[in-house]
Symmetry: D2
């Protein structure tokens, strides 16, 4: 709660600012309401002119502007752990947007503490998932901060019923707005993915237009020659990617993620089109491009085959829907996430090794995998030699395992 | 246990007979041991000359030969329920072999009852999964039957230490054997898939040779023009498949499954290469071609998006690893499977509707989905109109949902 | 939402009416707001004068009064399934209050339909679980109905800030109120239990006063002679209870539940004192008396020992926390509950047999159990005879089961 | 496998020796088979004369005898973690025997390494759970060791078909045997519990004889005055127990566990009589006395109420059946146990505080609990004051939570 007993001059809000119409209007409105506004521009890898955004915030009247490059922590602390934990929402969505929210919320709370702000604000809609993800993040990390979410505020909603109201208000207050034709869908972009929803996508019986896509070529336009990459993981984190044809190699997490994004995108990997369930109970149609993430998921699942114990894998996959749901719903900073992460960290130890993958026209194919800590035992696996296995043992194994099934009922 | 008090002439065994070297030798050995042998040849869609196999069994001395077409029940009772239940073993394997075992075991036990046999026999190795699947099937359905598994019998193993011993024995006893060069891997084929393992595949760091594949073209050889299919499901079972280009349409379960197999195979869909965990504790490398199954999985997951309740989907997916494990390990006929199936049947009700899918060079893409019982509400989903949703409600929702996260500790 | 375009005379609400101060005031306020109010008094086994309550509702101005005896459906449709499904919230609470809410909500919606009401109303607080349980019930069964919950209405909350405001309003409007000293805690009573919370119980470091309890004697005051009951279950539902000392026997569900309540209460069985987690995120201290339910839980778990398959039991218990959470949170009428119930119904088949239990000073002790469909096999279980078990089989079983553990890592 | 090519003098086995007839005979038989035998006598708190056992081993011809006091590590490393993890097998059994097996197996493997043994041996039956627990322990910790389990060896089984054969053999070889009438049931005792099974207990319809029990008084013979204990936990481990009447207090883990055992036993706490499912597929009747363990379970669950987050508790309890099954089946030293323990360790942090419990005639009652890190917020919990909670928020919460339930189907 804001401390309304203080003088209004002491109300200070850190606004997650995108440079767009909505958050520009919100910045101005917050000023009207007596807040000193700090604009926080988060660079999570989206293709934007951050300096231009910062300048706009200053023009509107931000007391201070922070442009923060969160790319590395986004990759290291959120994207890679999610891939390691097999986080796939409702069997398909790789959580590109969901993963970007906690990294933004975390920095926003840090800035609020640094500048002595009393409030944090965001411009996410009241119908979506992002509002929840931001606000649960604030709750977990800065529970004392006032949360300002104008798109849930009845007064704000009444005042700005449509885009025209926003535009008029911007004009009245001299807020600089980019002349842009309204898109027929909304987008969100970051290092991990680009997502598309609403507008013309709201009819799930229709395919998206080919020209909508941005990070990936269509399978039909992808090169006729496959790419072949070698990906090395240590403890379930990628540490090296090598293009087996060009010899290009990256070992830095950010650089290698950019590299897999570029190559996978070129080969048409990572488009998803689905109807998913939002946390607020609404079914929603989303289209996603997650080129590099799709590739890393594929490679890591493959490596688990030779490095992860069977029962650990089964337990991990039993918990994976819950892990995924926590990410999707916004509970990254929660005790239940800590609980699951502790187990997953344990599972991910020793998922170390190298996988070769072929990329071709949207498809992925494993070309081989090896590991210094492989649990695969070629002799034991062999159908030709015993390798330390007594086939006769299986007789007892099956008789004991089936005892329960054979046992009749005895009154 | 066999009723050894009876005269040996009364020992009667139903042998799952494949026409190959192993089961031919076993047939002869069983006769030697005083069994009257009934040969049971199961047609689960593999590409074989069943009449030739039957003839061979008669030559060796089978008292009776049953050639049983199990294709329809395989599709209806096993393949479709597995797809409906999202059964994907260790994130990739669609269980083609595992699903064929219970349908064979079931018929084998039925024949044993029909002919008054005291035993059932199979030729599966003691290192693999299939022995378990057969024998758990026998245990569940015919617990009174003696189980004969020569590849776990120390005496048999000592006698037939290598392939040469089998060949020599066959020659001695006039068992007709097809002149075949030994394959550099072993295969299993049925309606759902073709699998490859062992031999040169035992080194997981090497990719399989392109010429090994049979049911699917490689992505590189697939047509340059995509196929577009419309697939209709009722209660999570496919009931109609239509080729949107040629107009070809099938509604019979067997015919439609053949159709999706053919078209998906042509377009390179459904190859999997992985290291998996056998029930007997061995990691094993398997390569699979599951064209139609892969397509139906994809389409059904897509349809679940608009027809399945979020919480039901989450619960189903939490249990799916267990469901899958039961199939993989051979527990189709078990009380725990009945438990899970009861829940899954409930989940699958109303997963009814139509999905359009594009197939291209090994990849699948959803082109749209619709359902007469869709839970998707376009107005509610819309970002432009309220559709009965009050954005202000979300404020309370989030505050309550985060109360637990915000709550400090109070001593 | 109410159809506010209609004339106010057409607004008609069914109010869950308890005869107490809160719902009496609400009845009057609804009238003020132009609603025609139908009072619905639910008899779920609490010790009340329902006719007096009905009379009071009429005096205040209820257009119609329904006094509904829900005891039998409460026992048959809610209490017994919950016990069968091992529903124990946070390891202790047997859900007495949570189970009564859906049976009330269901009838309330039925009455709303019968009388053509547009709204349903309840007097539960905005901090508790019951509001959620009522309103999720309304949502599942009567989604078109307006929900009136004054204790969440800011205007109502402002008008009635304390008990004095309610009493003054009652006096002003001639609402008849029982002269009662305010209790130092709040209570809820029904067939299954009596619960106590708030007031002096809000300090969890203090034990409740002995005189608070009503349905159970304290262990110290319980008889010095134990009671011995024989309880028969069919498909996990109790069908007969016999007092082995007095010979008293009941077979009707309602009568036998009253009988176990009486005898268990007399012997001090079923007191629970705990801090639990409410759905709205608040930790709350609750004290409960659930005599008969505690006894039936104990007896049924015991019977499962000889009648339920091991793996089914393990799966059931893995899902039991979710089943319990759904009941506690109010999701009885939901698709996820249908999913779980389908599986549990399957598990509960054949949990048939008889258990003898001794009750003494708050404790329960099994004296023996038997079943016509027992899975217990005395010969197999025996340590003295084989009973069809080959000990040597266990060698193979263990070697295979431990293969995974023994396997070193192989690079 | 033993390296049988080596000279017999090099075969050296560490035998888990109990001083009883079975392991005495096994010791002699191993010698006959050319093993140098090291006798390992594990003190896990059972009431035995260990020196007399050691003397007997020497007389029979053990090359070396180790008497090892494992009590402290049994309590610290196995009993307390199991209680912390809510390990209750099939809703009742507290795993007293199962927990003692890994601590014994661990030391046995350590001794084998210390003395350069090639084998480990035990005398557990082939029908029970203990053989599996021992051998999975050996597999996890000493996979290279030969495992000798005579009661699964067909030759041994044929030679010693009954107790008379063992007695005759003992007499022939001058093995000193205690003159003991054969018990009508078998027992196992350790610090945590005493268990009874087989013999006259094999009929589950009959109650055990009152005189069988040893660690607990019957409720009827328990004192008429309750005991009241205060138990302090830090991170879910008991660190202090105080008798609130006598003032007796213990803080050492071993001493406090002895104290709760003594007091709980005196007050009749901890008797369990059940039919459970063994890992080898047999249903078995077991009767247990676990006085102190029962008390600590009760107290710790109570403390979790004020200190453990709701969602963590729910996740922990969802995994508890698996955790319990791993202990029961013998998988303490396994990667899947490490996975679960990592999560549980996380959950157990901050389960710190004090619980007062009353013990009376077999029953337990909480008298209050408090914690320096309590999550319970009295103001928030209060029904009289807001405590930072806005009741109106619950309206939005419920509307959003029920959106999914209200949503009709839209074609």
């Amino acid at each position: 709660m804001s401390d309304s007993n203080q003088m209004s001059a002491h109300k200070k809000a850190v606004l997650a600012y995108s440079g767009g119409l909505d958050t520009s209007v919100i910045l101005q409105v917050l000023k009207e309401q007596g807040y000193e506004v700090v604009a926080f521009i988060a660079n999570v890898g989206q293709d934007e002119d951050f300096e231009k955004q910062a300048e706009r915030a200053r023009i509107i009247g931000a007391a201070e502007v922070f442009v923060e490059d969160l790319c590395r922590e986004f990759v290291d602390d959120f994207i890679f752990p999610a891939i390691a934990g097999n986080a796939v929402y409702e069997n398909r969505y790789l959580l590109g947007t969901a993963l970007a929210r906690p990294v933004i919320a975390r920095r926003q709370v840090e800035i609020a503490e640094r500048v002595g702000a009393t409030a944090v604000a965001h411009g996410a809609t009241g119908k979506g998932n992002d509002q929840v993800r931001f606000e649960l993040g604030y709750a977990g990390l800065g529970p004392h901060l006032e949360v300002i979410a104008p798109w849930k505020d009845p007064e704000f909603l009444a005042r700005f019923a449509g885009r025209t109201d926003l535009l008029n208000y911007a004009e009245e207050h001299g807020i600089p707005i980019e002349a842009s034709s309204e898109k027929s869908y909304s987008m969100d972009e970051n290092l991990m993915h680009k997502s598309y929803e609403s507008g013309m996508l709201e009819d799930p019986s229709l395919a998206p237009k080919p020209e909508m896509f941005d990070l990936t070529r269509s399978a039909m336009d992808a090169p006729d020659t496959p790419a072949r990459l070698e990906i090395e993981f240590v403890d379930a984190r990628p540490v090296r990617v090598k293009d087996l044809d060009s010899g290009e190699e990256e070992t830095d997490s950010l650089a290698l993620f950019a590299m897999v994004n570029r190559i996978a995108g070129e080969h048409g990997v990572g488009r998803i089109d689905m109807v998913e369930n939002r946390y607020v109970g609404i079914k929603s149609r989303g289209v996603y491009e997650t080129p590099g993430g799709t590739l890393l998921h594929f490679a890591l699942r493959d490596l688990e085959g030779i490095t992860m114990d069977r029962e650990v894998l089964a337990l991990r996959d039993t918990l994976a829907p819950k892990f995924t749901q926590l990410i999707y719903n916004g509970y990254w900073f929660s005790p239940e996430m800590d609980f699951i992460r502790a187990a997953f960290d344990q599972a991910e130890k020793m998922v170390t090794g190298t996988v070769k993958v072929q990329l071709f026209k949207g498809g992925l194919q494993a070309l081989g995998r090896k590991s210094p800590v492989s649990l695969y035992n070629e002799a034991l696996s062999s159908m030709d030699i015993a390798g330390g296995y007594e086939q006769a043992d299986a007789a007892g194994f099956i008789r004991i395992a089936s005892l329960r099934l054979r046992g009749g009922r005895h009154g």
